[in-house]
Protein backbone atom coordinates (compact mmCIF):
# COMPACT_ATOMS: atom_id res chain seq x y z
CA UNK A 1 0.00 0.00 0.00
CA UNK A 2 1.31 3.40 -0.92
CA UNK A 3 2.04 5.66 2.05
CA UNK A 4 -0.22 8.71 2.29
CA UNK A 5 1.52 12.05 2.01
CA UNK A 6 1.22 14.05 5.18
CA UNK A 7 2.04 17.71 4.88
CA UNK A 8 2.87 20.55 7.22
CA UNK A 9 2.76 24.26 6.43
CA UNK A 10 5.10 26.66 8.15
CA UNK A 11 5.98 30.27 8.82
CA UNK A 12 8.28 32.31 11.03
CA UNK A 13 7.93 35.13 13.50
CA UNK A 14 10.42 37.27 15.37
CA UNK A 15 9.68 39.32 18.47
CA UNK A 16 11.95 42.04 19.70
CA UNK A 17 10.96 44.35 22.52
CA UNK A 18 12.87 47.00 24.34
CA UNK A 19 14.44 45.69 27.53
CA UNK A 20 13.26 42.15 26.85
CA UNK A 21 15.16 39.37 25.13
CA UNK A 22 13.92 38.68 21.63
CA UNK A 23 12.41 35.43 20.52
CA UNK A 24 12.48 33.77 17.13
CA UNK A 25 9.73 31.28 16.37
CA UNK A 26 9.07 28.82 13.61
CA UNK A 27 5.63 27.28 13.57
CA UNK A 28 3.94 24.68 11.43
CA UNK A 29 0.41 23.44 11.07
CA UNK A 30 -0.14 19.84 10.06
CA UNK A 31 -2.77 20.24 7.40
CA UNK A 32 -4.06 17.84 4.79
CA UNK A 33 -6.97 20.07 3.95
CA UNK A 34 -7.35 21.34 0.41
CA UNK A 35 -6.12 24.86 -0.20
CA UNK A 36 -9.55 26.09 -1.29
CA UNK A 37 -11.13 24.77 1.90
CA UNK A 38 -8.95 27.04 3.97
CA UNK A 39 -9.33 30.00 1.65
CA UNK A 40 -13.11 29.73 1.45
CA UNK A 41 -13.49 29.14 5.15
CA UNK A 42 -12.03 32.45 6.09
CA UNK A 43 -13.34 34.98 3.64
CA UNK A 44 -13.24 38.34 5.39
CA UNK A 45 -10.14 39.53 3.55
CA UNK A 46 -7.59 38.38 1.07
CA UNK A 47 -4.76 36.47 2.63
CA UNK A 48 -2.19 39.08 1.69
CA UNK A 49 -4.24 41.77 3.34
CA UNK A 50 -4.58 39.63 6.45
CA UNK A 51 -0.87 39.30 6.76
CA UNK A 52 -0.17 42.98 6.22
CA UNK A 53 -2.79 43.93 8.76
CA UNK A 54 -0.90 42.16 11.52
CA UNK A 55 2.41 43.62 10.46
CA UNK A 56 3.89 40.57 8.81
CA UNK A 57 5.49 40.71 5.39
Amino acid sequence: MEAKNKSAWGDESMRTQDSKPGRYMVGVSICDLAEHTVRNGFDSRSLRKEKKSIGMT
Binding site: S7, A8, G10, R23, V26, G27, V28
Partner: protein, 131 residues
Amino acid sequence: MKLDERNKSIDFINNLNLRHIVIGAEPLPETMRPERARRKCLETLLPILEKQYDITQLFMESRNTKQDLLEINFIQGIRSRGFISSLNYQLLPGDSDARLWIPDQILGAVGADDWRGLPVKNVEQYMITLE
Protein backbone atom coordinates in the same frame (compact mmCIF):
# COMPACT_ATOMS: atom_id res chain seq x y z
CA MET B 1 -5.95 43.51 13.06
CA LYS B 2 -8.85 44.13 15.38
CA LEU B 3 -9.57 41.86 18.32
CA ASP B 4 -12.79 40.49 16.81
CA GLU B 5 -10.93 39.71 13.59
CA ARG B 6 -8.25 37.94 15.56
CA ASN B 7 -10.86 35.94 17.41
CA LYS B 8 -12.57 35.09 14.17
CA SER B 9 -9.42 33.80 12.54
CA ILE B 10 -8.44 31.76 15.59
CA ASP B 11 -11.98 30.38 15.93
CA PHE B 12 -11.88 29.32 12.32
CA ILE B 13 -8.49 27.65 12.73
CA ASN B 14 -9.59 25.93 15.93
CA ASN B 15 -12.58 24.49 14.10
CA LEU B 16 -10.25 22.92 11.54
CA ASN B 17 -8.98 20.77 14.41
CA LEU B 18 -5.37 20.74 13.20
CA ARG B 19 -2.22 20.16 15.17
CA HIS B 20 0.32 23.00 15.39
CA ILE B 21 3.94 22.82 16.45
CA VAL B 22 5.91 25.91 17.46
CA ILE B 23 9.64 26.05 18.09
CA GLY B 24 10.82 29.14 19.94
CA ALA B 25 14.44 30.21 20.31
CA GLU B 26 15.60 32.79 22.84
CA PRO B 27 17.18 34.94 24.09
CA LEU B 28 17.76 36.71 20.81
CA PRO B 29 20.06 39.66 21.51
CA GLU B 30 20.41 42.46 19.00
CA THR B 31 23.91 41.25 18.19
CA MET B 32 22.73 37.84 17.05
CA ARG B 33 21.68 37.30 13.47
CA PRO B 34 18.12 36.00 13.21
CA GLU B 35 19.30 33.46 10.65
CA ARG B 36 21.17 31.60 13.35
CA ALA B 37 18.05 31.37 15.47
CA ARG B 38 16.02 30.23 12.48
CA ARG B 39 18.49 27.45 11.74
CA LYS B 40 18.41 26.29 15.33
CA CYS B 41 14.62 26.17 15.15
CA LEU B 42 14.63 24.20 11.90
CA GLU B 43 17.28 21.83 13.18
CA THR B 44 14.93 20.99 16.05
CA LEU B 45 11.67 21.09 14.15
CA LEU B 46 12.42 18.96 11.09
CA PRO B 47 13.38 15.74 12.93
CA ILE B 48 10.30 16.14 15.14
CA LEU B 49 8.06 16.42 12.10
CA GLU B 50 9.60 13.45 10.37
CA LYS B 51 10.04 11.09 13.30
CA GLN B 52 7.15 11.95 15.60
CA TYR B 53 4.48 13.03 13.15
CA ASP B 54 5.40 11.12 9.97
CA ILE B 55 5.33 14.30 7.92
CA THR B 56 6.49 13.72 4.34
CA GLN B 57 6.29 17.29 3.02
CA LEU B 58 6.99 20.61 4.69
CA PHE B 59 6.05 23.81 2.90
CA MET B 60 7.61 26.94 4.35
CA GLU B 61 7.02 30.52 3.32
CA SER B 62 9.86 31.73 1.15
CA ARG B 63 11.78 34.93 1.85
CA ASN B 64 14.25 36.55 -0.51
CA THR B 65 16.28 34.65 -3.10
CA LYS B 66 19.53 34.79 -1.18
CA GLN B 67 17.93 33.61 2.05
CA ASP B 68 16.09 30.83 0.24
CA LEU B 69 19.26 29.54 -1.42
CA LEU B 70 21.15 29.56 1.87
CA GLU B 71 18.29 27.74 3.52
CA ILE B 72 18.15 25.05 0.85
CA ASN B 73 21.87 24.47 1.41
CA PHE B 74 21.28 24.30 5.15
CA ILE B 75 18.50 21.74 4.71
CA GLN B 76 20.77 19.64 2.51
CA GLY B 77 23.34 19.84 5.27
CA ILE B 78 21.09 18.59 8.03
CA ARG B 79 19.86 15.85 5.69
CA SER B 80 23.42 14.72 5.01
CA ARG B 81 24.12 14.72 8.74
CA GLY B 82 21.22 12.34 9.26
CA PHE B 83 18.84 14.66 11.10
CA ILE B 84 16.18 13.90 8.49
CA SER B 85 15.95 11.41 5.66
CA SER B 86 12.70 11.41 3.71
CA LEU B 87 11.13 14.76 4.58
CA ASN B 88 10.66 16.91 1.48
CA TYR B 89 11.26 20.63 2.11
CA GLN B 90 9.80 23.28 -0.18
CA LEU B 91 9.67 27.07 -0.11
CA LEU B 92 6.57 28.83 -1.46
CA PRO B 93 5.55 32.49 -1.77
CA GLY B 94 3.36 33.48 1.16
CA ASP B 95 0.38 34.39 -0.96
CA SER B 96 0.54 31.27 -3.11
CA ASP B 97 -1.45 28.96 -0.87
CA ALA B 98 -4.01 29.62 1.85
CA ARG B 99 -2.55 26.92 4.06
CA LEU B 100 0.49 29.10 4.71
CA TRP B 101 -1.84 31.57 6.41
CA ILE B 102 -2.63 29.13 9.24
CA PRO B 103 0.81 29.04 10.91
CA ASP B 104 1.04 32.79 10.35
CA GLN B 105 -2.03 33.26 12.53
CA ILE B 106 -0.95 30.68 15.07
CA LEU B 107 2.44 32.33 15.53
CA GLY B 108 0.72 35.68 15.96
CA ALA B 109 -1.56 34.23 18.61
CA VAL B 110 1.22 32.43 20.45
CA GLY B 111 3.80 35.16 20.20
CA ALA B 112 2.07 38.47 20.79
CA ASP B 113 1.51 39.62 24.33
CA ASP B 114 -1.89 41.07 23.62
CA TRP B 115 -3.04 37.78 22.12
CA ARG B 116 -2.43 35.89 25.33
CA GLY B 117 -5.56 34.25 26.54
CA LEU B 118 -6.90 33.46 23.11
CA PRO B 119 -7.83 29.80 23.17
CA VAL B 120 -5.59 28.38 20.49
CA LYS B 121 -6.08 24.64 20.41
CA ASN B 122 -3.61 21.85 19.76
CA VAL B 123 -0.41 23.87 19.92
CA GLU B 124 2.68 22.02 21.05
CA GLN B 125 5.57 24.31 21.95
CA TYR B 126 9.26 23.60 22.26
CA MET B 127 11.75 26.15 23.52
CA ILE B 128 15.42 26.33 22.61
CA THR B 129 17.97 28.34 24.57
CA LEU B 130 20.36 30.19 22.30
CA GLU B 131 23.91 30.42 23.58
